[in-house]
Symmetry: C2
Subunit: 369 residues, 2 copies
């Protein structure tokens, strides 16, 4: 099996758990945050910088790479790891999320999705088989089933039909995968309906995937509802398989995800807000362009020892961001990713010491949303 | 004296010379290329990356820093070195070049130049005194006299009046400078008129500056004319002082500059064209977005061992540049700066071995403009 989850410690009071994820490109501590490298690069970062900050697995996007530069080229280059010079783990999503986000530009049938490229308007087609083939060409360690992310809000009938189709598609993905060095994860859907979530889990678990993602959360619903669905869903997933919450990356949501037993997370949030000048800290967000930092010669985060915080002041980074300098984007991105990776480490340590409940309380007390 | 030039070897057949430049922030081999860090950052690069590739002195712009973030803030931060975390040499230009480039937005009098900021249209004033005070606040190792870069073409009368004023301004800059850890360089002007160049050199040398720049070249004139004026001018400059050719950075011009006895160069060319996707090599330019490189898995330059060429293919960098990824700009910039810094090293080695004439012939035979 390409990917194996090893449970190291189960929190005695919550669903939180510390583990290890064994992949063909290394073993990584969980819970883990996976930086997003949409187009075969984590925006503004070098692979070495990601390694230096302790990044394990990164995520890349099938939809984007399928359109540009094309999966055949990546395969010709020796696969995504070699193409982008990254020898640690890679997870590719299936392209489903992006294709469904295209709105009027796509058409869904049982067979798959016909859509127009956001780049040149050309007509394209992705199906469970095609998405899996593309991901086989890309060669990530973990690949995802082609699913529909049920939008929020969605009526019960739509959510049910969509979730049932996602399940059928998951089987077709599984039937397509032939590479033994890749692990295909199933994606639990079901919208905000608990019975549909249970149905989705039940049907997917029967197919015995090496890992399970929870999709269709953090799509606009209130956070309390997200947490409720998460709690309902995760506890039904098999304990011996890794669990991945898709598209979640704010500190408060990460804590709640871990609380309910999630092992893996990804989100563009830390890198995207970095480029807009927002730094993440354990106390909340810091908007670096604010006038109050003009003469502030302290680091972004006095508790942080990332490259940006060790070497540069708020005043300098503010100057870089105000003058649209690329190095400003780099420093902000470095800080946010380093912060999140270390935030996950701290949660893991708390779980190992069986003090996760205390960790969570202290976090909530200090964090301003 | 803040800056001292040490002649190590004079080419026996040409004006080319190898030396050392001693500054308060280190000693640097000459001839040297100075990467441009307009806004207190060499676009897309970190200070550590610049050090790793062997950069010695970098250039920063008084005009830009005066407007944003303001020299007072930089002074408050402990000076430019500390502000941007760069402990090697810094040279600041005087702002003259940028101010005069503003065209209709500026007005020149004997006192100085009134101009409108390109950022917010606010009315600003720079004079020899003011430009020097700003540069004292910034704290570079080498600062430049406030001059007018005579445009090309310019009629004789204008060029003469402008050059005479630049000389008077140079004296006022000298009278203003009080910091002993900063070296003020005079700037030779005179347009494309040899007698005016001689006059400028004569008048400035009388003032005994610790170094001399040749300004007003590479401003649109034919290259042969530039080389002719350069040859005429440089040989009149004192041999015991460093000589700096402003705004020159293409390989062919660097070779000719060194040939005539120039020690220091700066130019936005390598970093600017990098961001447009043009790589510099000893054989000429390589436009990475060209279709011919789509499936080319060789490095940008097979003779180069920069970070980009050691780790990434043309196909990957082409993909990054086509998708507007920041890491693409970083890799291209890394390559171009590394190439130029090493190109200068090779010229220096040739001078030390008294084989510069042969180096130049081999370069010309291989290089496509």
């Amino acid at each position: 099996m390409a990917v194996k989850y090893e449970l190291i410690k189960q929190c005695s009071k919550t669903g939180a758990r510390a583990g290890k994820l064994h992949t063909p490109h290394g073993t990584f501590d969980t819970p883990i945050f996976m930086p997003v490298g949409t187009q075969a690069t984590v925006k503004s970062m070098s692979p070495d910088e990601l390694k230096d900050m302790g990044a394990g697995i990164i995520l890349s996007n099938t939809y984007h790479l399928f359109l540009r530069p094309g999966h055949s080229l990546v395969k010709e280059a020796g696969g995504l790891h070699k193409f982008m010079n990254w020898d640690r783990g890679i997870l590719t999503d299936s392209g489903g999320f992006q294709v469904f986000s295209l709105g009027d530009l796509r058409k869904i049938t049982e067979e798959g999705v016909t859509f127009r490229s956001h780049i040149d308007g050309s007509k394209q087609f992705l199906s469970p088989e095609r998405a899996t083939e593309v991901q086989m060409a890309l060669g990530a360690d973990i690949i995802m089933a082609f699913d529909e992310c049920v939008p929020y809000p969605a009526d019960y009938d739509y959510a049910k039909k969509s979730t049932e189709r996602t399940t059928r598609w998951a089987q077709r993905c599984k039937n397509t995968l032939t590479r033994e060095d890749q692990a295909l994860f199933g994606i639990v859907q079901g919208g905000m309906y608990k019975d549909l979530r249970s149905m989705s889990v039940h049907d997917l678990v029967k197919m015995d995937f090496p890992g399970y993602a929870v999709g269709g959360l953090s799509v606009g619903e209130p956070k309390d509802l997200m947490y409720e669905i998460l709690e309902h869903t995760v506890c039904q997933l098999p304990a011996n398989k890794p669990r991945y919450l898709m598209g979640v990356g704010t500190p408060d949501c990460l804590v709640e995800g871990v609380l309910h037993g999630i092992d893996m997370f990804d989100c563009v949030f830390p890198t995207r807000v970095a480029r807009n000048g927002t730094a993440m800290t354990a106390k909340g967000r810091l908007v670096i362009k604010n006038a109050e930092y003009a003469h502030d010669f302290r680091p972004i985060d006095e508790e942080c020892d990332c490259y940006a915080c060790r070497n540069f002041s708020r005043a300098y980074i503010r100057h870089l961001m105000r003058t649209d300098e690329i190095f400003g984007l780099r420093l902000m991105t470095t800080h946010n990713l380093y912060f999140l990776i270390n935030f996950m480490k701290k949660m893991r340590e708390a779980i190992l010491e069986d003090s996760f409940v205390e960790f969570r309380s202290a976090f909530i007390a200090n964090y301003k949303k």
